[in-house]
């Protein structure tokens, strides 16, 4: 069964399509990632899936319920960790969770027990009576994760869950999330623009300018870019190029100072090359494909380049405007 089913979903803000005819499915228990630059339509998609925005056209189902016509049923089944904090920072950690337990109709006899459980999971039990204002960014995010799972959702949405956190805290947050996912078979739908985070996903949809440009497992996506790339500098590039072409049947590409080779298994190829080549090698560099390369290949841009793109800026702007109007 699919936890999320999106069919030809479009969300427009005026003339701008923040999400443009997108279709995909997320299976039960899957960790599914939306990868793309700021303003690509990731948050808008989440907002539609979690019923904060209505689709302009198309439809989406979460946990079997339609996000436009069965909103309360959808809301009961999902947990959310937002991109920006959404805690009441004048209340204590415990009180924030108490609030959540009530609005999500957690049965009275289970409330205290569940709150304790989730607070222990994210290691905030000792700080339960501290006012949230005194928490660090990482603690707040952990509390939000605890809150997101308090009502035992079937699908957990994480919108840039580690944005603005230091690398160590990011790792911790991921540990919690993946542990939860394994222990309770929650489906996780997350957005990110960190490539290394996307690696945690079972499948990734790469989204750019409101459209999904690729959807597959991280490994399969990387295979799209092709093979490993070995870059060489030698004493005599001309001679080396000739020799490589003859000996290995490869097609080296040469610029002023370097030779680029595309090979299947770069790590094994390099020792052979060093041993067998008749020209002295000055340096070798091995580059394995990353999701960055995938994005570059698919869109012609690096994922962090969006600042210079006026359209991307407009998309971002449109999204902010949309969020303000919710």
């Amino acid at each position: 069964m699919s936890s999320i089913e999106v069919i030809h979903l479009t969300k427009r803000f005026g003339p701008l399509s923040a999400v443009d005819d997108v279709s995909f499915r997320v299976e039960d228990g899957e960790v599914f990632g939306f990868l793309g630059p700021n303003g690509a339509g990731k948050t808008t998609t989440i907002n539609v899936l979690c019923t904060l925005m209505r689709p302009t056209t198309g439809s989406a189902k979460v946990a079997g319920y339609d996000v436009a016509s069965q909103r309360n049923a959808v809301r009961q089944c999902i947990g959310l960790v937002f991109q920006d904090p959404s805690l009441d920072d004048q209340l204590t950690a415990y009180e924030n969770l108490q609030f959540h337990a009530h609005v999500y109709n957690v049965p009275g006899i289970e409330r205290a027990q569940r709150i304790e459980e989730v607070l222990r999971v994210v290691k905030l039990w000792d700080r339960r009576d501290a006012i949230v204002r005194t928490f660090s960014g990482g603690m707040k995010r952990r509390l939000e994760i605890a809150r997101g799972i308090l009502h035992h959702p079937r699908v957990l949405f994480l919108d840039e869950p580690t944005l603005g956190l230091d690398p160590q805290t990011r790792e911790h947050v991921w540990e919690y999330v993946l542990e939860l996912q394994r222990a309770h078979e929650i489906t996780i739908f997350m957005t990110t623009h960190y490539m290394d985070e996307a690696e945690h996903c079972d499948r990734i949809a790469i989204i750019d300018q409101g459209k999904i440009v690729a959807l597959d497992t991280p490994d399969a996506l990387k295979r799209m870019v092709g093979v490993d790339i070995v870059t060489l500098r030698t004493e005599d590039n001309e001679q080396a190029t000739r020799e490589i072409r003859e000996r290995y049947g490869l097609e080296p590409r040469k610029d002023d100072t370097r030779i680029r080779l595309e090979v299947e298994a770069g790590a094994e190829f390099i020792p052979r090359l060093v041993g067998e080549l008749g020209v002295i090698i000055k340096s070798v560099d091995l580059h394995r494909p990353t999701l960055d390369d995938v994005f570059l290949k698919l869109t012609g841009r690096a994922i962090r380049e969006e600042e210079g793109d006026p359209l991307a800026w407009m998309r971002l702007h449109g999204r902010l405007w949309g969020r303000g109007r919710r």
């Binding site: 039960d28 904060l52 809301r75 937002f82 920072d89 609005v103 309770h184 919710r326």
Partner: protein
């Protein structure tokens, strides 16, 4: 954690009529409770929101009594202006606290907490009702604290009177919080709130009869005062505290409105605002 409650095995949440109602009741309760909790915790707000009415009472009361003494005496008989002003100041505390409580929705929007509320499986009506009850409770408490001044001003209280006053304060606050929620539902910034304060809330206060009797006013002004919901809170409060001579009731045609009629008008206004506020929240997504 109990694994059974997660995943597809849980089955789909059953939303029978009764379960839905219970869920919404929980939502109303906790939204109300959050406002009360924050009020209890925020001593600064408590002190400052009592300071302002006191300032008005002392400065306006004493100042105007000194300069307009003769004229006031003619209008108010043997009641000093400070005493006349007292019910108005109680209403003022209720008005401002109620509106501020409602406007905290704009803060919640700014700090993201509103998302937590809006994405929860409770109806918008429950959200608005919880918020209105929370603001009304807090505003009623603020008004009630001011009643401590009554003996100092020579106004005698008895338990029944206090209960009636609390009821009126709550109703007035409920009407005004509902109005505030309607405004906050569409307000995007605290700057916009400043505008609302200057062009709506202050005039509502000045035209409510808190400062001066609503008698012998220019025609346009007497029309406007009749449209001011705060007036229907000030008048019955003054009648209860100081007697019918000073507050004979807002005149509609030849009829002077009694306390029950005032309460009904407030309730009607509150209901209208509630309906509009729910609609405003539902339609903005």
């Amino acid at each position: 954690m109990t694994t059974t409650a997660y995943g597809p095995a849980t089955g789909l949440p059953t939303r029978s009529r009764w379960a839905g109602l219970r869920a919404n009741a929980g939502g109303v309760y906790i939204i109300w409770y959050r406002d009360v909790l924050r009020y209890r915790r925020d001593r600064a707000r408590l002190v400052s929101s009592l300071g302002q009415p006191l300032l008005f009472l002392v400065v306006f009361g004493s100042g105007l009594t000194a300069s307009l003494g003769a004229g006031l005496t003619r209008d108010l008989g043997d009641v000093s202006y400070v005493r006349f002003l007292f019910p108005g100041i109680v209403a003022m505390a209720v008005l401002f606290t109620a509106v501020f409580s409602a406007i905290s929705i704009v803060w919640d929007r700014e700090f993201g907490f509103l998302r937590e509320v809006l994405v929860a499986p409770v109806s918008r009506a429950a959200v608005v009702l919880g918020k209105a009850l929370g603001g009304s409770t807090v505003a009623m408490c603020q008004g009630a604290i001011l009643l401590i001044l009554a003996p100092i001003l020579g106004v005698s209280l008895n338990p029944l009177l206090v209960i009636k006053l609390l009821g009126l304060m709550f109703l007035t606050a409920f009407a005004l919080t509902s109005m505030g929620i309607l405004i906050a539902a569409r307000l995007q910034s605290m700057e916009a709130f400043q505008m609302i304060m200057n062009f709506l809330i202050m005039p509502m206060f000045f035209l409510s009869g808190a400062f001066f009797p609503l008698r012998g006013l220019p025609a346009w002004m007497s029309v406007v005062t009749r449209l001011d919901p705060v007036a229907y809170g000030v008048d019955p409060m003054r009648r209860l505290l100081l007697g019918a001579d000073l507050a004979p009731g807002i005149r509609i045609g030849n009829h002077h409105l009694g306390t029950v009629e005032d309460a009904l008008i407030l309730a009607a206004f509150a209901s209208l605002m509630m309906v509009l506020a729910v609609w405003a929240f539902e339609s903005q997504e």
